[in-house]
């Protein structure tokens, strides 16, 4: 595995006090918080910062990490000695991070002896397409989990699950998969897996809760005179009547055509009036005729 330098992640040196670490962490977490940061990789950065702090912010984990990391540099290949974790015991380190990998590789020999504990729950996210929410789907998710291999030994392994996505899910909903969390200890049952539903960005549709928004380009005459246009929607092409006298930005609501949740969402079509280019004599003549005959000034309307 690759060595990760948690001190570098937090921008501190190895002699930092617990207080220095906390201060550095708070500063970094504020800087890269996904709700306020403009950095493109704010999410990934936040995850790294949290991972580093989970270890360095904990006296015992920090000691274990220090004992191991002497002389190593970020990105180097790294293999922990087989018996190095004798003095440390962190059980379900939980996160799918470098530190969890270390402890899984080093084994958990001290977990034996009648000790019983249900496995930890795992929290992860699964990304789906809008179409999946309309029709339901099976999507795969990959997780790094420790897998017991004989008494007291474990390795991190990739676990791939095919998950049934129920029809009607909306962003942020959590799917609970019983028994798919970390393995239990001493014969106790496994934890659960919680998957937060996220939607991949879609070039045409935008989602807000169970409602879906879509821009519909229309011609000036369709907007002015009204008419029927064919519009692609997540549930297939529909004929939509554009009311006469429409302007750009007008919202047409197709009730119940959003995500088919328990309370079905609506589909909003936002009209986008597109002008034909005045790039031919004929087009220019038509615009000039309108300018002359319509006596229209939108700034005095």
């Amino acid at each position: 595995m690759e060595y990760k330098d948690y001190y570098a992640t937090l921008g501190i040196d190895r002699g930092a006090t617990a207080d220095d670490i906390k201060k550095a962490y708070r500063k970094m977490v504020r800087k890269y918080h996904p709700d306020v940061s403009k950095h493109k990789d704010a999410d990934a950065k936040t995850k790294e910062i949290n991972e580093a702090y989970d270890v360095l912010g904990d006296l015992e984990k920090r000691a274990a990490y220090d004992a191991l990391g002497r002389g190593h540099h970020a990105g180097e290949q790294f293999h922990p000695p087989p018996d190095w974790s004798e003095h440390f015991d962190f059980g379900g380190a939980g996160a799918d991070d470098f530190f969890a990998d270390l402890f899984a590789q080093a084994g958990r020999s001290r977990r034996g002896g009648g000790f019983q504990m249900r496995g930890d729950d795992i929290h992860a996210a699964i990304t789906i397409d809008l179409a999946d929410a309309y029709r339901g789907a099976t999507r795969t998710v990959s997780l790094r989990v420790p897998k017991a291999e004989g008494p007291g030994r474990a390795t991190m392994q990739e676990k791939t699950l095919s998950v049934n996505i129920p029809r009607g899910v909306t962003p942020g909903q959590q799917l609970r998969l019983a028994g798919q969390g970390h393995e239990g200890h001493g014969g106790a049952g496994p934890g659960d897996l919680y998957l937060e539903i996220q939607f991949a960005p879609d070039p045409r549709y935008r989602i807000e809760g169970s409602h879906v928004y879509e821009n519909v380009p229309v011609t000036p005459w369709e907007a002015a005179l009204g008419g029927s246009v064919a519009v692609p929607t997540p549930s297939g092409t529909v004929e939509v009547t554009i009311p006469s006298g429409s302007q750009s930005g007008r919202k047409l609501r197709l009730k119940g055509k959003g995500i088919p949740a328990a309370t079905p969402g609506d589909l909003y079509l936002i009209l986008d009036v597109v002008l034909p280019p005045a790039n031919s004599d004929k087009a220019r003549a038509i615009y000039q005729a309108m300018a002359r005959d319509l006596a229209f000034n939108p700034r005095t309307a």
């Binding site: 095919s162 609970r176 937060e196």
Partner: protein
């Protein structure tokens, strides 16, 4: 690699979590949940049942409290503000307005 299995879950908006399940999912004592429900910063005081938004909220509260030694009311205020920012951004995005 494990054998690929097809698994079916339940949406916790349909089958809500009880207090012990929420506590376990957040790796906290049930007391923590009770305290936050009573303080009015988590879930619904009428029924100790928790849904997707409650689970996400509980985990964010916990993180703020742990990492910033934030008091539960302050953590809740920060999360409410962050949620409002997210809601407004989602609104802008839905309406096709770029947030620059």
């Amino acid at each position: 690699m494990f054998a690929n299995q097809i698994v079916t879950g339940v949406l916790i908006d349909e089958v809500a979590l009880d207090m012990d399940e929420l506590a376990r999912a957040c790796q906290v004592e049930p007391d923590w949940v009770v305290r936050h429900v009573q303080a009015g910063v988590l879930g619904d005081t009428a029924a100790l049942r928790f849904r997707s938004t409650d689970l996400a909220r509980a985990r964010r509260l916990l993180e703020l409290e742990r990492h910033f030694d934030a008091d539960e009311e302050l953590a809740a205020l920060v999360i409410d503000l962050a949620d409002e920012v997210r809601r407004l951004r989602a609104r802008l995005h839905a309406l096709g307005i770029r947030d620059t």
